[in-house]
C-alpha cells in the first residue's frame, strides 16, 4: 500500500525547473484530453485540455516548464491556468522535479 503522505517539506512548484511525468503515472487518451492514473497513490486526474496533455508529455524534453509552455504555444492569459494545473499535479506526485 504505502503511505501517500510524505514527511518531506513540500517543494514549491517552480516554472523555471525541469519536471517530468512520474514513471508510475499512465495517461489514457479521452475525447476531452486524457485521464491520468497514479499507480502508487491510486489517484485519478482529469486532464481536460488537449494541449495540457501535450505539455505534460513534452516536459521531459525541456530544461524548464517555461520552455515547454513556449514550445506548445501556451502564452498570455492561458498560462496561469496551466501553471496551476501543473502545480497541482506536482503536489500530488503526478509530476516529479528532475
Amino acid at each position: 500500500m504505502g503511505c501517500v503522505g510524505s514527511t518531506e517539506p513540500s517543494m514549491k512548484f517552480d516554472i523555471d525547473r525541469a519536471y517530468r511525468l512520474n514513471d508510475r503515472v499512465a495517461l489514457r487518451p479521452e475525447p476531452f484530453g486524457a485521464l491520468a492514473y497514479h499507480y502508487g497513490n491510486r489517484r485519478l486526474n482529469f486532464l481536460r485540455a488537449h494541449d495540457l496533455v501535450t505539455v505534460i508529455e513534452s516536459l521531459a524534453e525541456h530544461e524548464t516548464v517555461r520552455s515547454a509552455f513556449d514550445a506548445a504555444g501556451i502564452a498570455g492569459p492561458r498560462r496561469p491556468a496551466f501553471e496551476k494545473a501543473l502545480a497541482s499535479l506536482a503536489e500530488s506526485d503526478f509530476l516529479v522535479a528532475t
Binding site: M1, C3, A26, P31, F32, L35, R42, R48
Partner: protein, 369 residues
C-alpha cells in the same frame, strides 16, 4: 463542457470496472445484489479470464474492483490477481474475509497494487450477522487482525447502510481508526436479494439526513459516490454526483455478461458478453444500450424540481427494482417524491431480478429485531 458533461457522454474505457469472478459464496447475505450462492457452470475459465485482463490492459482500465460471490473461492483467484498486477491492472477486491489467513495476509502485504475491502454490515456481531449470517462478524474481524499483524497497511472496511446500522456510524469510524483502515459506506440498493429486503432495511428519511451531515463532516470517508441523491439536501457530497452506469461504470459478471452497473443484473441492462466477437471493448464502445445511456437523459417527472441539478434524479437501479419509471424520482428522494410511487408500485408486478444463484434454502433473517 463541464466534467460532469464529459462523464455523461461516456469515456473510452470505464473508470470503475467491477468484475464479479464467481457466483459461489459461503455466505447468503440478505441484501446480496448479485443473488450469489452457487457457482454457475458457465463461469469464465482461467484462460478466458486472462483474456479479459489482457483486453482491459490494452484499453488502459487502470484498476478493477473484483467481487462475487466470494471471489477468493475460485481456485485460480490468487493467480488472476497476480495476472492483473503483472499486466498493469491494479486490483481492489471485496471479501467477507473467510480466506484471509495469516499466510495470505503476509503475501498480500507484499504487493503494492492490491487493495482489500472487507465487508461488514454492523459494528457489532448482532447487527452484522442479522444481514450477513451467523459468525460472519467474527470472521471479518479475524481477517482484519491478520492484515494488521502482517502490516498490510491501509485496507478498506466496507459497509452497506441499513436502517439498523446507520446509528452506528461513529462506531464504524472508531473500528476503522483502530485498524488504520479506511471506512467506505455505500448505499443499500433494492437489487438481487436486496429487492426482497429493501423495504425492511433501507434507511428512514431522518437517517438519510443524519448520514448526509455525517458524511459532509468527514470527506475522507469513501462512499463510491453512491449517495449522490442526498446532494439534493444542500451542499453536494464529494465525488461524482451522477449515475455513471454505462458511462464511466460497468459490471462484468462471472459468466462474462456485461451490465451497465453492479446494481442492475437484469436483462434490460445487459449490453453483451465478453465472449462475443470483439470482446469487452466492443461491448463498451458499441453496444446500443450503452450508447443510449450516454445520450442526454430526460429529467422526466423531476424536471420541475429545483433540486434536479443536484441529485440528477438519483439511482437508476433503485428506481428500476422498486417499479419507478427511470425518468421518475429516486425511491429515497429526500423531498419524498419517490415514496408515493414506491407505494403505488408495491402491488404491481415489479421487474424480477436476473440470474438468481441463491442456494436452494430460502434466505431467512436471524429472528426479529
Amino acid at each position: 463542457m463541464s466534467l460532469t458533461d464529459d462523464m455523461k457522454a461516456g469515456l473510452q474505457a470505464p473508470i470503475c470496472l467491477t468484475w464479479e469472478l464467481t457466483y459461489a459464496c459461503n455466505l447468503q447475505c440478505v441484501h446480496c445484489l448479485s443473488s450469489s450462492g452457487r457457482r454457475d457452470p458457465r463461469e469464465l475459465t482461467t484462460t478466458e479470464a486472462e483474456a479479459v485482463i489482457d483486453e482491459i490492459q490494452r484499453m488502459q482500465v487502470f484498476y478493477v474492483n473484483i467481487g462475487g460471490g466470494e471471489p477468493t473461492i475460485r481456485p485460480d483467484f490468487w493467480h488472476l490477481i497476480d495476472y492483473c498486477v503483472d499486466h498493469d491492472v491494479g486490483v481492489k477486491f471485496s471479501t467477507n474475509g473467510s480466506r484471509i489467513d495469516p499466510r495470505v495476509a503476509r503475501e498480500l502485504a507484499r504487493s503494492d497494487y492490491v487493495d482489500i475491502q472487507i465487508s461488514i454490515d454492523g459494528a457489532d456481531a448482532a447487527t452484522n450477522d442479522h444481514v450477513r449470517g451467523e459468525g460472519s462478524f467474527a470472521t471479518a474481524l479475524t481477517a482484519m487482525d491478520h492484515l494488521a499483524d502482517a502490516d498490510f497497511g491501509e485496507f478498506k472496511i466496507s459497509v452497506v447502510m441499513t436502517r439498523h446500522n446507520i446509528g452506528q456510524l461513529d462506531q464504524f469510524a472508531d473500528l476503522a481508526h483502530r485498524y488504520g483502515a479506511q471506512l467506505r459506506l455505500t448505499r443499500f440498493r433494492p437489487s438481487g436479494r436486496g429487492a426482497a429486503t429493501w423495504h425492511e432495511l433501507h434507511p428512514s428519511d431522518q437517517q438519510q439526513r443524519d448520514l448526509y451531515h455525517w458524511l459532509l463532516d468527514r470527506p475522507d470517508v469513501l462512499t463510491g459516490d453512491s449517495f449522490f441523491h442526498l446532494s439534493a439536501l444542500g451542499e453536494a457530497l464529494p465525488g461524482l454526483n451522477l449515475c455513471g452506469a454505462g458511462r464511466v461504470v460497468c459490471l462484468v459478471d462471472p459468466v462474462g455478461d456485461v451490465y451497465a452497473c453492479p446494481f442492475v443484473l437484469h436483462d434490460d441492462f445487459k449490453a453483451g458478453n465478453v465472449r462475443d466477437e470483439g470482446g469487452f471493448e466492443r461491448v463498451w464502445r458499441n453496444s446500443e444500450l450503452f450508447a443510449g445511456l450516454r445520450e442526454p437523459q430526460s429529467a422526466g417527472a423531476c424536471a420541475s424540481c429545483g433540486e434536479f441539478d443536484a441529485c440528477q434524479g438519483g439511482c437508476m437501479a433503485a428506481k428500476f427494482f422498486t417499479g419507478i419509471p427511470l425518468d421518475g424520482p429516486d425511491p429515497e428522494c429526500v423531498n419524498g417524491y419517490g415514496e408515493e410511487l414506491v407505494a403505488a408500485a408495491a402491488g404491481a408486478t415489479r421487474p424480477l431480478v436476473g440470474a438468481d444463484h441463491s442456494r436452494p434454502s430460502p434466505v431467512k433473517f436471524l429472528g426479529r429485531r
